[in-house]
């Protein structure tokens, strides 16, 4: 039996936990910059890589990671190789900056076409920059394959896929034939940590770097998000009264007194 081929779509994003004071908004150029923190692989895409690697361990699947962007960082995306991904494809072109979800899905679908055969396509449920949660769904529609959204676990039985899909109040077990696209949620587990040895090895591995021409993409047909304005959010900060007390116990007691008073006022 041929190995199962899994394609994982992974996006390079700024650090999602950057404190607000490092987030710089340029309202003229309508760009956001995160100062002084390195970008990383989108966290749900890391979960998706982990889900693929678990299948690889069980079935000997072949895992390819594909990333679309402009000025992608090889050292960041090579981490995928270090944790056990077989192939890395970077689709990197200055025209791919801030593409909207449909255009991103368009480029991804063409990259997937060039990669060739696949049984499973994984995306993250959402990317932490635009918090959009669309690209995977649109990509599945474009490829014309079934989609399962919000996946918390995947197992392969023969040539069919058994999926734990997160639903309100619990989960649903669903089953389908390949090929299928799954959008992966954090419940599948965090991406494993690479060893120093595999990190060093991954630096020497060959990778594919493609541009729009390699995929015969007419960049005129791609759209960035049409942004009218970028602003700071309304200030959500509150005046915090710190509960006094010399010891944690004393502060705990004082919190009880303070809250009781606050409740009486509220009710």
């Amino acid at each position: 039996m041929n190995p199962i081929k899994i394609i994982v779509c992974a996006k390079q994003v700024p650090d999602p936990e950057a404190p607000a004071n490092l987030v710089e908004i340029d309202s003229d150029t309508k760009m956001v910059k995160i100062k002084g923190l390195p970008p990383g692989i989108n966290s749900y895409d890391q979960n998706a890589i982990e889900a693929a690697l678990k299948i690889k361990e069980k079935t000997g699947a072949k895992v390819t990671v594909v990333s679309v962007g402009s000025k992608l960082s090889q050292s960041i995306l090579r981490k995928a190789l270090a944790v056990g991904v077989d192939d890395l494809v970077l689709v990197d072109d200055s025209d791919f900056k801030d593409l909207d979800s449909r255009s991103t899905a368009d480029v991804l679908s063409k990259a997937i076409e060039k990669i060739g055969e696949y049984d499973l396509v994984f995306t993250g449920r959402q990317a932490s920059d635009w918090d959009s949660g669309q690209t995977g769904l649109i990509l599945g529609e474009m490829l014309g394959i079934p989609i399962v959204n919000l996946v918390g676990g995947v197992t392969i039985e023969d040539r069919s896929v058994s999926v734990k899909r997160m639903i309100p109040g619990g989960y649903e077990r669903v089953k389908g034939d390949m090929p299928v696209l799954l959008t992966i949620s954090n419940e599948v587990g965090e991406m494993r940590v690479p060893s120093l040895r595999t990190v060093l090895e991954s630096r020497k591995r060959p990778i594919e770097v493609w541009q729009s021409d390699d995929l015969k993409i007419d960049t005129q047909e791609l759209n960035p998000f049409e942004i009218l304005a970028l602003t700071s959010p309304p200030n959500m900060e509150r005046e915090c009264s710190f509960i006094e007390g010399d010891s944690p116990e004393e502060r705990g007691e004082n919190l009880a007194m303070t809250l009781k008073k606050a409740f009486l006022k509220n009710n």
């Binding site: 950057a18 959009s132 959204n149 669903v174 419940e187 959500m236 919190l255 009880a256």
Partner: protein, 333 residues
């Protein structure tokens, strides 16, 4: 606006286990506003089986129309069928604006539908306006977890968005009754490629109905930490009806509590009277889900933690030392 262009504002009415979801009443408020600005009608699309009670109830909230799309095959959500039925309905009736909640159903159906209709969509909007020049939607959403607010304009004959929970007030009952229009969809079951094997209800909690939420984060340290938080519930129940335990995402990823307790950007949006954050640092994606709480109390051992910038009351220290003393004193006051 040309005569031939699409017309009317549609909202997707969410029915869960035969009951109307309150998110739909928030969406109604937004939909009504847009319909008035456009001077067009507001319609609610309901999909399911046995929708009469929900449709009758909703008719009193001021929509002009309710499209009641009923079939035994719609008794439980299935993305393939839902998108297919809506696609046909949209191609026939051509709404100008379509809104769904940023809910389990909305986040899957709306982007897929947008693709099939060759329209664009912004998800998780916090504000929507009609552009008076061309009748299109001006869509506002938080990006970068909530650190930035962006306003978009998009192409598409149907202007689409999903709308964040708690961004709008609940609609109120009006004097007039909306007209209920029955639609019997033609469903081809062979399009279903994904089979449902079983549904497991783990832990059904109505976080959005809580008066008090006591939330634990990574700093809780384990299941025992959540057991400790649970001992606070009866104390608060003396004064409040609905007291529920919530969590940040790392607590869920660590397996300390079920994922239905997650509060934040990719969890529940809540606005209780009291939100008590224990061992939570206040990352923007968590704040996105709780910043509308009336009163926020934070317990954190790091005095520089961002959560204190979002709190009305702060206690610095290890919760393991603070909470036992808190409980003892509470009983004695």
């Amino acid at each position: 606006m040309s005569k031939k262009s699409n017309k009317d504002v549609w909202i997707y009415g969410e029915v869960t286990d035969g009951e109307l979801d309150v998110k739909t009443l928030e969406l109604l408020t937004m939909g009504k506003k847009l319909a008035i600005d456009l001077d067009e009608e507001l319609a609610i699309v309901l999909m399911g089986d046995n929708l009469d009670p929900v449709a009758q109830d909703l008719a009193g909230f001021g929509p002009d129309k309710i499209y009641k799309v009923e079939s035994p095959l719609l008794n439980r959500f299935n993305g393939e069928i839902w998108v297919d039925v809506l696609e046909k309905l949209f191609k026939e009736l051509k709404p100008r604006v379509f809104l769904a909640s940023q809910s389990f159903v909305g986040i899957e159906v709306a982007p897929r539908l947008a693709f099939r209709l060759d329209c664009e969509i912004i998800t998780d909007c916090i504000d929507l306006k009609i552009d008076p020049d061309d009748g299109s939607l001006i869509k506002t959403k938080a990006i970068y977890g909530g650190n930035v607010v962006a306003t978009f304009k998009q192409k598409g004959a149907t202007q689409m968005a999903t709308v964040r929970e708690k961004a709008n007030k609940l609609a109120e009952r009006g004097a007039e009754l909306g007209k209920i229009i029955d639609i019997k969809p033609d469903i081809d079951e062979s399009i279903v490629k994904i089979q449902s094997l079983e549904v497991v209800r783990e832990d059904v909690v109505a976080l959005n109905k809580a008066d008090v939420i006591i939330s634990g984060g990574r700093g809780i340290g384990g299941i025992e930490g959540f057991e400790e938080l649970a001992t606070l519930v009866p104390l608060f129940k003396e004064s409040f009806a609905n007291v529920i335990i919530g969590a940040s995402r790392p607590a869920i990823d660590s397996g300390w509590i079920s994922s239905n307790r997650q509060i934040g950007l990719t969890g529940e949006m809540v606005a209780p009277d009291f939100y008590i954050a224990v061992g939570i640092s206040g990352a923007i994606q968590h704040i996105a889900g709780m910043s509308k709480s009336k009163t926020v109390v934070a317990i954190n051992k790091d005095e520089d933690s961002n959560i204190f910038n979002l709190a009305d009351y702060g206690v610095v220290g290890d919760y393991r030392e603070i909470l036992p003393a808190f409980k003892k004193k509470w009983g004695g006051v």
